[in-house]
């Protein structure tokens, strides 16, 4: 990861592409009330949102913790800190059936090893399923988060390794093969409304649902994004540039990262 440097007034701020992804994800949470959070970048982003613009954002973790207010970045989705700071801890059946499938979650985060142009995700195997080159951890809560959260934000780096013409395994449905599939499959959320990469932002076309590059991070050129995408990348007519990391964001992020003790 190369660090990006951007001039803000007198000061130059150093941050990584991951930092940019996290900040963009945190910003994207503005205006939402209830966020379903996985561990890693999503958890960092959601807690950064709480630490900056959205102190009342409700964090729900798959382990059953509703309204967790961690004071440090959790080590797992079942970190004791989450249970101790939560408004309520419920069972896993209840989380999935009443809260996720019941349509109570405004926005969920997902990552994946591979994504296709319709924001379908693979977190199962690289290579053939029966004889995989790489066996990944598997589905976890992703399929139902994608099915039932009102919206989904995907965090994924943009490269020929992660952006693929055809998934080796479709673990999680984005938009299937196009605009009708979610309805046909009984998936009641809107699906992925935003994909955040290390290069910029993509959003589904309102009609076709194919992902469209709508913004680039500071310093990224559209040709970089095209080169990182194995299919002919659709680009929005009004391509914008994301705001660079503010000092407040970076401070918030570093404060959060400082709480994470990897033993």
């Amino acid at each position: 990861m190369t660090a990006t440097s951007t001039a803000r007034g007198e000061q130059s701020i150093e941050y990584s592409p991951d930092d940019m992804m996290i900040a963009a994800a945190a910003r994207a949470l503005r205006g939402y009330r209830v966020c379903f959070v996985g561990i890693g970048l999503p958890s960092t982003a959601a807690n950064l949102a709480r630490a900056t613009h959205s102190p009342d954002l409700v964090l729900v973790y798959e382990s059953g913790t509703i309204g967790a207010k961690p004071t440090r970045l959790p080590l797992s989705i079942g970190d004791g800190e989450l249970a101790e700071t939560a408004d309520a801890v419920v069972s896993v059946p209840e989380i999935f059936n009443y809260w996720v499938q019941g349509g109570r979650i405004d926005v969920g985060f997902l990552g994946a090893a591979q994504m296709d142009r319709f924001a379908n995700l693979n977190s199962t195997t690289i290579g053939d399923y029966e004889h995989p080159a790489v066996r990944l951890p598997g589905a976890g809560g992703a399929p139902e988060i994608a099915a039932s959260c009102k919206e989904v934000i995907v965090l994924i780096r943009q490269s020929h390794r992660t952006f693929v013409e055809r998934l080796d395994f479709r673990t999680t449905v984005g938009f299937g093969e196009g605009p009708d599939d979610r309805r046909r499959w009984g998936l009641r959320g809107s699906g992925p409304t935003l994909v955040i990469t290390d290069l910029g932002l993509l959003r589904p076309d309102p009609v076709t649902r194919e992902l469209t590059m709508t913004a680039l991070h500071p310093g990224v050129e559209i040709d970089q994004a095209r080169a990182a995408t194995p299919w002919e990348l659709r680009v929005a007519e009004q391509l914008t540039t994301t705001e660079p990391l503010s000092e407040e964001e970076l401070r918030g992020l570093r404060d959060l990262q400082a709480t994470q003790d990897h033993g």
Binding site: S63, G80, E84, V92, A139, P143, A147, S148
Partner: protein, 274 residues
């Protein structure tokens, strides 16, 4: 009524070669000590079940106890891969591992159906994914009211469910608290139940978030202080994150793994060995 037994007795009495064994614990209350006792007793051909198989499943798989794994997400949480699991799936070492995988919601609802005395449960999911069609335990059902097509998952009824809890009393009633995951459903779905606990106490005091399992749904309770290490038990001890990170190194190499298991799991026991 639960018998209070040693862990070795309880595993010996309840877990047989070829059994379907759920060792549950969703990111908390993970029955590590019980899993390691199964390894020490040399059980074979097990169908192991857990939403989130982690280090102790890596150990069970690497030591050749498992014929099949039924799961949702198999990783070293916060660290990365389970290398023994991967080695089994990618290279068939120590022998090929059959796998049946689900979404967390799907596997959860398989337990719910089992606990509810129903042959199946219904959920929104699976359609459009490659998970569908990879297992006979996911099918389609049509809503008799709306005509909607929904996913049906088959009830899961393990031969044995093993969980860890904080406390039991002398009658074998069990109290757990904090994140209790799918533990109640996994217990109530099972034919036989083993609960390891941090301690047996004279009296179980009601507490916020406490979940009580009455003795009459449990077969054996075994004291296993520190029984979730290197994970954590709320109210008793914290997760040792360095052990999770260290496991990544230990488990990458077959010989390193076997040596570590010999020293740390088999060594201290009267085990049959491997």
């Amino acid at each position: 009524m639960a018998q209070i037994q040693t862990l070795a007795e309880a595993v010996g009495n309840l877990v047989n070669d070829g059994d379907c064994v759920a060792l549950e614990g969703f990111t908390h209350l993970i029955p590590v000590a019980a899993g390691q006792e199964i390894i020490r007793q040399g059980r074979r051909d097990l169908t192991l079940v857990r939403l989130t198989p982690d280090i102790v499943f890596d150990q069970l798989i690497g030591m050749g106890c498992a014929k099949k794994l039924v799961f949702g997400w198999g990783g070293n949480p916060g660290v990365g891969s389970l290398h023994r699991f991967r080695d089994a799936v990618e290279n068939g070492w120590p022998h090929p591992l059959e796998i049946e995988e689900h979404s967390h919601a799907g596997l959860t609802n398989r337990y719910v159906a089992g606990a509810s005395g129903l042959p199946f449960a219904v959920l929104r999911g699976y359609f459009g994914t490659d998970l569908m069609g990879r297992t006979e335990t996911v099918k389609q059902v049509v809503c008799p009211f709306t005509g909607e097509e929904l996913a049906a998952v088959a009830a899961l009824r393990p031969d044995v469910t093993v969980i860890h809890a904080q406390q039991a009393d002398h009658q074998g009633n069990v109290l757990m608290w904090g994140i209790t995951g799918v533990n109640k459903e996994a217990v109530l779905a099972a034919e036989r139940v083993l609960v390891t606990v941090e301690e047996v106490v004279d009296r179980l005091d009601p507490r916020p978030g406490g979940v009580l399992l009455p003795t009459w749904v449990i077969d054996a309770v075994a004291e296993a202080p520190g029984g979730t290490y290197p994970s954590y038990t709320a109210g008793y001890y914290e997760r040792d994150n360095s052990a999770y990170v260290h496991w990544d190194t230990i488990s990458r190499d077959r010989e390193t793994f076997l040596t570590w298991m010999d020293e740390h799991v088999l060594g201290g026991s009267m085990a049959v060995g491997r």
